[in-house]
Symmetry: C2
Subunit: 198 residues, 2 copies
DNA sequence: CGATAAAGTGCCACAGTGTGGCGTTTGCTC
DNA sequence: GAGCAAACGCCACACTGTGGCACTTTATCG
């Protein structure tokens, strides 16, 4: 479970409420008409929020669409930070993701597939996501100390690539229980991939 | 050498000339003031071309900045298409890139590092590049037939990741002769990366 | 050579995202 | 309840990208 701390002040609760409304409504609207075809104004009108306020809450239109993705990686980084890192790092990275997936709640498993479909349908959103992933990769590297920087960098790239491959296979059905299985399979295929012959 | 076919018609030659002027001037201007801080109008004014014409030549502002990147991958796909694919595919992908690098001319080796710096300084441009790379990866997959789709997909991801790692190490100095060496080293480190221990 | 079609271009107006300034409201604190 | 700071809404603007339409240049064919 993600720990949701209810802020004491009314001001912050209000802020969170509009934030949540923006996230939910955005997912609905973008899902109906597509990310690119939905003007931001449509979202603002429905939530009754001014453009100025929106951009004080989110950095961009992409940002609000990717909340589910960011929640996952935030959790992932938390887990990875707390986990004991011993043995093969590939196993550590995989284990951290499996734990993160367990911590996500039901609503997340509803929103995440919707988000993936948005990304698949919009090149712009996809590019934004890939760039965001690169930032996450840098943070992952920061959580692991070691002197083999190149090996580490490569391994992180490989792991994230494996994750994206797993998502691709998960996308059609999006059965929650399937995702760990697919990720395990993808990760255990990495060695075979390197020695793949024509 | 890239084969440059001079089109017979005057019309096409003119078109190519403004296209080239846009590419060169863009690289200069973006390099001076940064990609994000250079309004497209500054470029259009200098080349004396209307916005309408620019967007008939390039899809976006990002497009004109990434010409060098696209030239490389175009060459790469050509090489990969013509090469004999036998033995370990990782070696094939590497060999194709080494050949492609040999085919690039001197001017490309001047422009490519400049482009890399633009990308490093602009998250938006970086995202655009990553998305473009994903498209290239799909094309690579299309050039290789085989039934192990997951292995293939993963290997391509790994290879491109290795390429990007090599570029990162190449970026500071950008000595042309160094790039093949760095790429070879990165590729030969891939196996060690998978079994990296904490 | 002259007429005609077609390709290319420029100009104008517009949609959409994102930002800065500034007055006003709202919630917090005493 | 009064003062204060945070948040908000409104307005205007910069920038990228697109559509429409008139105009110029080039190719082509009689």
């Amino acid at each position: 479970m993600t720990i949701v701390e209810q802020p004491a002040t009314l001001r912050e609760r209000k802020k969170l409420r509009t934030r949540q409304a923006l996230i939910d409504t955005a997912l609905t609207l973008f899902g109906e008409h597509g990310f690119d075809n939905t003007p931001l104004d449509a979202l603002l009108e429905q939530v009754e929020v001014s453009r100025r306020t929106f951009f004080r809450t989110f950095r961009s239109k992409e940002d609000v669409a990717l909340t589910a993705v960011k929640q996952l990686w935030d959790t992932y980084l938390e887990v990875l930070d707390g986990i004991q890192k011993s043995g093969p790092l590939a196993d550590v990275f995989l284990a951290a993701m499996l734990t993160a997936l367990e911590r996500m709640d039901e609503d997340w498993y509803r929103r995440f597939p919707l988000t993936l479909r948005l990304i698949a349908d919009s090149p712009a959103l996809d590019g934004y996501t890939l760039r965001y992933c690169a930032e996450v990769q840098a943070k992952i590297a920061g959580l692991v100390d070691g002197q083999n920087r190149l090996e580490l960098r490569l391994l992180i790239e490989f792991f994230v690539a494996a994750w994206r491959c797993a998502l691709d296979e998960w996308l059609p059905a999006c059965t929650p229980g399937e995702l760990p299985t697919l990720l395990r399979r993808t990760c255990s295929t990495m060695n075979a991939a390197l020695s793949l012959k024509a």
